[in-house]
Symmetry: C5
């Protein structure tokens, strides 16, 4: 589906009178020196993408990648155009889960084609932002490149922050006195961190190249902008690594807590056993059948025995209490 398509001239969107949204060839024909066309697609069908390919002369292998998605983040040159694959991430609050999509960008001298997969990560915000900053947009297609990367990486940071909160929760749970089963939660978080890492790490190399101004077709003066993006990306990578390490430690602490609790239980149980076993011993004493057992003939022998029983339990209880077992 073509979400939007427009011609930009000197940093401003140009109204093209006789242009039906889907007629990309006509749109491109309107582009003069320094103008460029930005076509935005969302989960396009094969034929839609084929038409785009024909209009802008994209490379077959890249188009195939853009159709099927599920690529690794990468930046590649095909003849005159650049092809960038980005993973989009967003955090779904209801499930405490990270979901992923994909954005593919084709960049030529006078066009940008963006192909988005997945629900989240709409690019219309980037477009609106850019259209408000004539100055940035005047850098041409590379500005779109930057704006999309910037938005996507901003979303990484948001996801990173959300995961940081999740880790804080897990941490609080692990070290709370309550008995919680944190193993599954930690596992899931580790799995989500792995997801984020899979989006972030392979993107660092392309961003570094863009930030270094090494990519022909992307003007050198945009490098500081990409440097900013690369920096944020690096920060996300560090956050993810650091959270992963923390979770490993938290997991170990969880296991230690389970063990400590088992210890506590065992001692509490043992004390309880003593509370019952001690008076049982007393009972077995007075259950003996000796002919000469003076207590048996006492008037208050029975209450006396009960008192001894209670006392024996009390002694056990006090000892256990003092040892911190109860």
């Amino acid at each position: 589906m073509i979400v939007d398509s427009a011609l930009y001239r000197a940093g401003q969107r140009v109204d093209v009178a006789d242009h039906s949204p889907g007629d990309l060839r006509a749109l491109r024909a309107c582009a003069g020196e320094g103008d460029f066309v930005w076509v935005g697609l969302h989960e396009p069908t094969g034929p839609e993408l084929e038409e785009v390919r024909a209009v802008f002369g994209l490379h077959e292998l890249a188009v195939e990648d853009a159709l099927h998605a599920h690529q690794r983040p990468k930046l590649e040159r095909y003849d005159d155009s650049l092809f960038l694959v980005l993973k989009t991430l967003w955090y779904v609050d209801e499930d405490d889960a990270v979901e992923t999509g994909e954005v593919n960008l084709f960049l030529g001298a006078d066009f940008v084609v963006t192909v988005r997969h997945g629900h989240g990560g709409s690019l219309s915000r980037s477009r609106r932002d850019l259209e408000r900053h004539q100055q940035v947009l005047a850098h041409g297609p590379a500005a779109v490149f930057y704006a999309v990367c910037d938005q996507v990486v901003d979303e990484y940071e948001a996801v990173g922050a959300a995961l940081e909160e999740d880790v804080d929760e897990v941490e609080a749970s692990v070290f709370s006195p309550e008995r919680t089963d944190d193993a599954a939660r930690i596992y899931t978080l580790k799995r989500e961190l792995a997801e984020v890492r899979r989006a972030v790490l392979p993107l660092r190399e392309p961003m570094r190249r863009l930030a270094g101004g090494e990519v022909s077709g992307v003007a050198g003066e945009t490098a500081p902008y990409f440097r900013d993006v690369a920096d944020h990306l690096q920060r996300v990578a560090e956050v993810v690594d650091s959270l992963d390490a923390l979770l490993s430690t938290a997991f170990d602490a969880y296991v230690a807590r389970v063990q400590v609790q088992q210890n506590d239980d065992m001692r509490r149980i043992s004390a309880s056993v003593g509370l019952i076993a001690a008076p049982t011993l007393v009972g077995s004493v007075y259950g003996m059948n000796f002919e000469q057992m003076p207590e048996l003939g006492w008037r208050f022998g029975y209450p006396f025995a009960l008192a001894v029983m209670a006392l024996s339990s009390l002694v056990v209880w006090l000892v256990a209490r003092r040892a911190g077992w109860l």
Copy 2:
């Protein structure tokens, strides 16, 4: 065994009238400028391979490697020809196991020799596919190189996907409430991942070189194709690493679960002991031989005692219940 041998001219298979399948020398003689011969062998005997060596002038050390198999994946230049070793992998559903084979390729200016070991990974699909794509095949022997690599790496991805499912199963099993013994399963999966890693990792360097167009004898215009293969390879490597890390965490979670279960058992056992010990204490009370024990003379003393016993069990049961021990 020679599986197939044929002459290709301008991207098409050429019928060579007077050619018996095994007469490779005659076949090669038919090859004109720009033509090439593709000979496919499956677990050849020494003499078969020796004949091939003689016809195409292959290097002794490479031929020895191709005969014995069990090489590391590698790409090497011997005089005028290239020698590529690939591990083939396939997933056997019945055993949930990964099996391995090997493909050796010799590439000269006018020939390709493929030597396959092991049951799986037949190359006839590659051959059929290629013969349908005249355009690709027209790139000469390098096209065969590409086609075989592509098929082999596709199979890696299939194996990776199958293992991902296995890991999902293990994960479900570890976090299910049932008591399963997941240690052996996790161990086996880790072992299989190590197998895959052993096939994938050493191949990355050769693929990178081919993708960079650095290998003389392989035309630069095929580089994008190899870049595609290298990319898939990289993805498999990342999947494998990520699965391995997940399995480690899953293993830790499994051990934690065993411990938690032991804890649960211990508490359940303790509660059960209490269920029996409490009435036993009551019994020992009324088994005492005091002369003055009013209850003993009661008409309903015995039912009363039984009721106290039941009550004592009930109290234990309620306490245990409330503490979540039963």
Copy 3:
């Protein structure tokens, strides 16, 4: 808030008669050849920073970073000026916790602007120290660069030393005979080490560049000073890594201790159970109702039975004692 602003000439602070503290433009105008201005800000508002930007011609992206803080440590060139981000760290004794702030430095040919965030890490010490060392200050703005880095890294070392003490305490606690819950303490320390690492590691690369004299705009003769800073930074990094590894081992030792203690408890408990169960067995013997039980008729049968009971407990106690269980 503008904390201080001054003009330096030939290594000395110059009084500028008609200069109100906030009038930076006037101050800068006074700067002749070889002079420089040092403006120190603390958590400036947007407008304050905007004015500074206008006066010194700073780059927008850098100013935005300096406004919002929460950047990674980095050194970047924007047109004519350098932009350095440092994390400040200080150890709060009351909480045994590490807190973080941030310092941003802008360096031009004739100015330094320092922007500080967070409570700790005041730079007035650096300024006073520098103003006392005319010789160092004569190196121009780079001297301020050095002085700030030096102070910040000195504080890293202080934090490292404080954490070393904390680790020593944890270590003592883990190996003490007392039963302490060290898991949370170790976790917190690991978390703080991660904090320090996040400040230290990314700074190494910029310091290495400054120490190598590779940064244009910073005179080569200051390189030995930055080498000194880089060296201290490296030492902090090594201390942090080493503490982290020690904590991991200490954690393992803690878990092992928990297990050993459980073992000890179990044996102690078992011995205690034996102390009660043995005399109970004796009691059950003499509670049997045989007609012919000579002891029952003995005069001192009852005391004898009690003695046997006590003896049985004593035997259990001695056996347990000898086995080291009590």
Copy 4:
């Protein structure tokens, strides 16, 4: 001890009439253009080695290394000669242990000196093999270099294969239902793997240099042979790494199994306790002294009570059985 010394000319051993085995100076004097002398020593004494040093002009530091052995594998140039240190490994079946020795090689334009330490790894096989391959031997001293490296690395592979079998055994033991103490075995294997790694890893760099034809004094045409050796070395390194990782996982599985077994034991024990405690409760019921206990007067009261006791045990047994505890 001088094991063998001979002159080689055009790939063949030459009989030197008037040559006593120990008279190396005379032997060397016989060497014409393109000839070379191969002297093989086994654990030489200082004076023996000193004589060799004098005859061939070896460097003092290298000779000292060769005398004392216990060097790291390395390849070094001293003036005109090369000095190579190799660790030899062999597997002693009786002890399931890996033993180590050392080979030092000196290579000059017209000589090779091999110095062997330790029982295993005799080089006479290399010499015999080489003497049979005139073609290879014709490459001069470098052929000896190659032959020795090849033999030593072949032995590494044999050791690797033997350790693989050991790991398989351990694996089988860990996952067998029997209770085996695998910790010590795993530890020993890890220690032996570390031994192998210490021989293999430092050798990779020299082999890579020889395989790249970068070592002056070793003819470029021998590079493919060294490439073969380097490849095998790499394979051994991968096998060792992979076995080490497997052993770590196997160890974790072993610990998990111990824990699972403890769990099983605990449940079995608990069930057994129940088998005794339940009828004891019944006994305590009928041991009560109530005047009105109808069962006591029944004719078959006693058998009835015994039956109730048996029944109570049976119920416990069935419950435990069903829960899988017995």
Copy 5:
């Protein structure tokens, strides 16, 4: 404190008639072309070091480092002189502990200044050795550099060997049948290994540069000597890494042993409980008050009951024995 100071000419110590030990300026003035002065200091005071600085024109920052010690090992150039920091290590048998000191060396064209901190690692041995080897000493100040490095690294090797023995002891203890508490010992050893690593690892880079002859001011012909030192250093580094990995495995084995022992204890305890519980059950049977219990009237009923009790214990004992629980 100035330990020794002397003038060396052509590899020999020269007596300077009118030279008081502390008059370094006079001593240096005596040095002709190719001579050099070696001044050895031990924990000098500030003024002592200041005098040395003045005489030899050392750099302020380096002198400050040498005064305070606690530097990382490093090699740095300050103007015309080199500054090398080494950590010294020695093993104190009484405590089984590694202690550390520091040596700082200043190297100029005609002087060497060595500054030693800490008790151990006296350099007088190096001086005596060197004075005996005129040939080596003739290489000038670099010979002193080499001699000190050689001695220090030799001591590293001695420490490594001592730690290897300690690890062997711990290993023996972990796998002995006795119950030992090895956690603290392993922890301490790991801590000491970290200490050694901190001395060894940063020194590798300087040694590699010296071994490569890349350091101006140190003659190229001394490179083989430094190569030797670098090699030993590398060996120590490998030993330390390998010991550290072994200790980790040993620790895991220790934890596993604790768990196995707990298992053994639990089974032994359970069997013991059975030994008491079984006869108690018998006792409770004959404690029942049925009117019709034939055994009660038997003449040898009581001995019979005792026999049954003993038998029941025996059965438990045999069963436990057979299961390996006792």
